[in-house]
């Protein structure tokens, strides 16, 4: 008989301490051994995880009012500008913003040692952060300047809100040019001297529910070491399938999530300020999503292993910067993780930019939370657009 479970049934089992929870990695071998049907009937929840640099991250901060009041017009946190065009004492600190005095790429490659992601990490580490703000003065907000130390506990709200995280799949980046290049995927050596990739593959949340059968608005997740929620689809959410030149299907790609959570309960271990040499500052985010095994189809998707998941190989010296479609082929995550791949007859060393050990730790942590009964699954209020939706990306003219 076909397996059909509901969120309510699974949550009842979690509350009773009887839920069967496995990590996505464990499910891969379980299905190879027992088959999809048995695994789907036995397993209630599969946990996933990813820990990589995720631009399009940041936090809303509401500082509280000073005496006399100031309507902040410009705001800096440890000299990193935050956007305050929201309200008098509210600001958004973005992960990729850098210090006012950062030399950027003037002495190429720039180091980008401290940015918004580092500010967020310092805040969750409960370190003191210097807040500076200026205002133009109004009748109701007369003050024009304030400089004071804050900690995350001193301010009223700190809400992590990342408009685009958890990319479903990502490029394997190489450099075909004759000089070293510095990219958001790390340092790429000339003449295909190395290849970088940044996905946790068989542990990656959106590769494990690739058709968005369970992940949607309101899904409760592991975010930055605490609890968060899927707020919406991410920006640049273009769910689709990768297809080779000969029409071969290389699986799903293009989905993204926007996620939200109370920064005050997160941890500096899982939100890490990150500096990509020659590129900029960002933040490495820990994110994990539980997938309820409602039926066999969901189980089959969640059980796909690294040998059946593929990344497109893209040249970052010429094709990517010029927005040209690249046709260098596809490579499996099993091969990428082995440390060497073969591109056009050349052996190329590989390295990840996202941490597989940390992704594994996230999936294991989420599993522990669920097994203890601390973390219930939430049924999405609305599911997100998937590969059947036919969303096409727009590009800028000019």
């Amino acid at each position: 008989m076909a397996v059909e479970k509901t969120y309510q049934e699974i949550n009842a089992r979690i509350k009773a301490g009887k839920a069967v929870v496995v990590t996505a990695e464990e499910l891969v071998s379980m299905v190879k051994e027992k088959g999809v049907e048995r695994a789907a009937s036995e397993v209630d929840v599969v946990t996933t995880g990813t820990f990589g640099p995720m631009c399009s991250s940041g936090a809303f901060l509401s500082f509280g009012h000073a005496k006399p009041r100031i309507k902040m017009h410009k705001v800096w946190l440890n000299n990193v500008p935050a956007y305050t065009g929201i309200a008098a004492v509210d600001a958004y600190i973005g992960a990729t913003e850098v210090r006012e005095d950062d030399p950027l790429n003037s002495d190429h490659p720039g180091e980008f040692r401290y940015g918004g992601g580092h500010v967020i990490q310092d805040l969750v580490a409960r370190k003191k952060v210097m807040l500076k703000a200026t205002g133009y003065g109004t009748d109701c907000y007369p003050r024009k300047e304030i400089e004071t130390e804050i900690t995350i506990d001193d301010i009223n709200e700190a809400i992590l809100f990342n408009p685009r995280n958890a990319y479903q799949n990502y490029n394997c980046a190489i450099n075909l040019s004759a000089k070293t290049i510095y990219t958001y995927l790390g340092v790429l050596k000339p003449h295909m001297g190395n290849a970088h990739f940044s996905t946790s593959g068989q542990l990656s949340p959106l590769l494990k529910d690739p058709m968005f059968r369970t992940i949607g608005i309101g899904t409760r997740i592991f975010l930055g070491g605490g609890i968060g929620y899927v707020a919406w689809n991410g920006t640049q959410h273009f769910p689709g399938r990768n297809t080779g030149e000969d029409g071969t299907d290389y699986g799903f790609a293009g989905g993204t999530l926007s996620v939200i959570g109370d920064l005050k309960q997160m941890s500096p271990r899982w939100l890490v300020g990150t500096s990509m040499i020659g590129y900029g500052a960002t933040m490495t985010v820990g994110l994990g999503i539980p997938i309820p095994i409602l039926n066999e189809e969901i189980c089959r998707y969640a059980a796909v292993g690294d040998d059946e998941l593929y990344a497109p190989i893209v040249d970052y010296s010429e094709d990517y910067p010029n927005f040209k479609s690249s046709s260098l082929g596809f490579i499996s995550y099993a091969q990428l993780k082995s440390g060497k791949i073969n591109i056009n007859g050349k052996e190329v060393p590989t390295a990840p930019v996202s941490s597989y050990p940390r992704a594994r730790e996230i999936a294991a942590t989420l599993k522990t939370w669920i097994k203890k009964g601390d973390f219930l699954l939430s049924e999405p209020v609305q599911l997100l657009a998937n590969a059947d939706s036919g969303i096409v990306a727009n590009s800028l003219k000019g």
Binding site: F51, I277, K337, T350, A351, P352, V353
Partner: protein
């Protein structure tokens, strides 16, 4: 004479003295300050590159003031609190000192194989590779 790297440690009572000035002026030395942590009325450290004929006399002068002077061997260390085992350094490292231990995908550092080229120091996105003197 080849330049030499030295690390100086001095106690609070001499931290406000212009010792570098004296090395330049009285001993005609070319000094490059590689690292300095000097605060008034506190213990301090400084790492110098010293070049000149009278380097040894200059170092004796520092010692006569009570400054501890040691020659320095630079080392790279992996700060395990900061390293997240992403792996981005492992194919940048030219000597194989940084590598991924499979199947767990953990980044390891074998300092015996390190040639102190500093490539990892800037390539590490978490700034977990540190120069240690």
């Amino acid at each position: 004479m080849a330049p030499q790297k030295v690390v100086l440690r001095f106690d609070a009572k001499i931290s406000d003295q212009p010792v570098i000035y004296k090395l330049v002026k009285d001993y005609d030395l070319v000094i490059n300050i590689l690292k300095a942590n000097v605060n008034p009325q506190k213990e301090g450290t400084m790492v110098l590159d010293i070049n000149g004929e009278k380097a040894e006399q200059g170092i004796d002068y520092l010692r006569s003031l009570g400054v501890q002077v040691k020659s320095l061997t630079e080392q790279i260390i992996q700060n395990e609190q900061k390293c997240v085992s992403c792996g981005a350094c492992t194919d940048i490292c030219p000597s194989g000192a940084l590598y991924i231990e499979r199947p767990d995908m953990i980044v390891r550092f074998d300092s015996d194989r390190c040639v102190v080229c500093h490539l990892c120091v800037k390539a590490c996105p978490m700034r977990a590779m540190e120069v240690c003197f």
